[in-house]
């Protein structure tokens, strides 16, 4: 077993880290506090290829394997988890269904639009269907060579900024998961409105909105896979993207450690740096353990995907649940290491604590991941 990264992975990690440290981290707290959408930063990311990390080389993307995509996601989230969310929601989450089931013509069109700088958004969650994704009620009805979409989607990352939506809808709720269909929908189709923009605890640089579909006519050629395959496509997408979320959480967990380590060496109390106190040292050690374990779990889940094994749900859920908790715990401990200063906006750790919480919620809560893991264990 060789834990080393390849030469390209190393270079990609270094470049993404440099970018994050120079172009994101120094501005992230201003963006967060003043609710600024970091368009200039995203433009730079578009130029360098970040906004198309999920697109294969033959369709004009950088052609990264899953391990490398997720290493990049970790490094961007080290700088700001909101910017990471914009990138991942578009170029991985909304794009993965195209990998999973799109035909050649669809790949050319939708990958092409991502490469050209359009943002994607993944529309699964609804007001009445969160953890219970199979409970969605957005309807699709076939009329001629079009499908008519009706329904509303909740908490959609890039909902108000995307040019294209990846949407899960049902032909008939009574058909259960067998009635579900996955569509690619152009934002400018009549009948689409962007609803409420969420005012969030954290990842405030990312845009989260309601997206409402009223008699939206989608050409039948935009159906990904076949009628009835939608649920399978979305579940497979989530298996893939959960490793990405684990990577993002790892980035935040690492940032918490880096900030705490630096601060603990500078802050003196009782005539000594606080890093000389064992209580602080143990916090740092625990943080480092959680970072490393998270990273290895997402490396494993991502590399299973690269090896094209048929099932990696459990590995992805192990990584996602663990790394989500690790980011949250590390953030709480980072605030503790900073003491009263950590509780103020002058220092970066209160934001990390607000940002970290999302990793225990979106893309399947920590509880839902545990259901997947336990289900797998009990199936034997």
């Amino acid at each position: 077993m060789d834990f080393r990264l390849t030469e390209e992975q190393e270079m990609m990690k270094r470049m993404a880290h440099d970018f994050s440290a120079n172009e994101i981290a120094p501005f992230a707290s201003e963006w967060d506090h003043n609710h600024i959408y970091p368009q200039d930063c995203l433009d730079k990311m578009q130029e360098l290829g970040f906004m198309a990390i999920g697109v294969p080389a033959e369709y004009g993307g950088p052609g990264l394997d899953h391990v490398t995509q997720n290493i990049v996601a970790e490094e961007i989230c080290w700088g700001d988890a909101g910017v990471g969310t914009i990138m991942v929601a578009s170029s991985l989450l909304a794009t993965d269904p195209i990998h999973v089931a799109a035909n050649e013509e669809q790949k050319k069109e939708w990958f092409g639009r991502i490469v050209d700088g359009e943002l994607g958004a993944f529309c699964l969650t609804e007001p009445g269907a969160g953890s219970d994704a199979a409970g969605i009620s957005t309807r699709c009805t076939k009329v001629g060579d079009e499908y008519i979409l009706n329904g509303s989607k909740q908490f959609i990352s890039n909902g108000g900024t995307a040019g294209m939506y990846t949407v899960l809808a049902t032909l008939d709720k009574k058909m259960g998961t067998k009635g579900m269909c996955c569509f690619m929908v152009d934002r400018n189709t009549p009948g689409i409105t962007v609803g409420k923009v969420e005012d969030k605890l954290g990842i405030r640089t990312s845009n989260t909105t309601e997206v409402i579909f009223e008699d939206v006519k989608v050409p039948a050629k935009n159906l990904i896979g076949k009628e009835g395959q939608g649920f399978y496509i979305i579940m497979k997408t989530l298996d893939i993207s959960r490793a990405s979320i684990a990577a993002m959480a790892t980035g935040v967990a690492q940032r918490c450690l880096d900030e705490s380590l630096a601060y603990s060496k500078l802050r003196t109390q009782f005539g000594k740096p606080i890093s000389s106190f064992q209580a602080i040292q143990f916090k740092l050690a625990d943080m480092a353990m959680r970072v490393q374990a998270s990273r290895l779990l997402y490396y494993e889940a991502s590399s299973l995907q690269d090896m094209d094994v048929p099932r990696f749900s459990k590995a992805a859920s192990l990584a996602k649940a663990f790394a989500g908790d690790a980011a949250m715990l590390n953030a709480i401990e980072a605030v503790q290491v900073f003491g009263g200063y950590g509780y103020t906006r002058e220092y970066p750790v209160e934001k990390l604590m607000r940002d970290a919480k999302i990793f225990q919620i979106y893309e399947g809560t920590g509880e839902v991941q545990r259901l997947v893991i336990a289900g797998d264990l009990l199936r034997g």
Binding site: E7, M15, F50, L64
Partner: protein, 250 residues
Amino acid sequence: MKVLVCVKQTFDTEAKIELKDGKISDAGINLIINPYDEVAVEGGIQLKEKGIAKEVVVVSAGSDKAMDAIRTALAMGADRGILVKQDTAADEYARACALAEVIKGESPDIVLAGHVAADDGSSQVPTRIAEILGFPHVNVITAVEIAGGKATCTSEADGGTQVTEVSLPAVISSQVSWNEPRYPSMKGIMAAKKKPVSTVDAAAVANKVAIVSVALPPSKQAGIKIEDEPAVVGAKLADWMLNTVKVEVK
């Protein structure tokens, strides 16, 4: 037109320098492309983008680790690389001889380099290369125009700028303010592996300098704190400077 850029793999500028057995230890040190050379690489790539240069070749002398610096330059957009394998203990003279030998074989129109390396800061290699090859040399440039077989270089001079015109081939070394080096793009990184890099052994040249010993600078002494009315602070500070630090007043 062919541009050749000399790059060096150096210690990360934030690295903590430690001595081991009387030598600078590179254990656990992050190595990066010399930031000054990165500016030269960017300058070379821009000449290509402007249609002035056809090919940008990067050359690095050092151990296998120098391959990293070459790959970084290739990822930024250089076309091919040459690794000149040489003992890391080579001095500036031996270094310049090895590089000059390779440059002679390549016969570039312009040789670019950073004006100094972030590690030993000796600022000698580009000047020595120019001397060995009999090329004109312009140092610390902040801008360059190439036309009609000539390079018009703007460089820093005491209290102003100086414009120098030289005929090509020439050695031009950059000041950091010449440009803002780009991040290698993802496609650039993926393409770098497929770009050709050749490896040659350095010409056997003996060092001219023997290092007798290496020492770290003395650690910083604690300062003093003067707390009082502004006028009193001024007087006490002046007294401290004159009588304790013994600043010479001319």
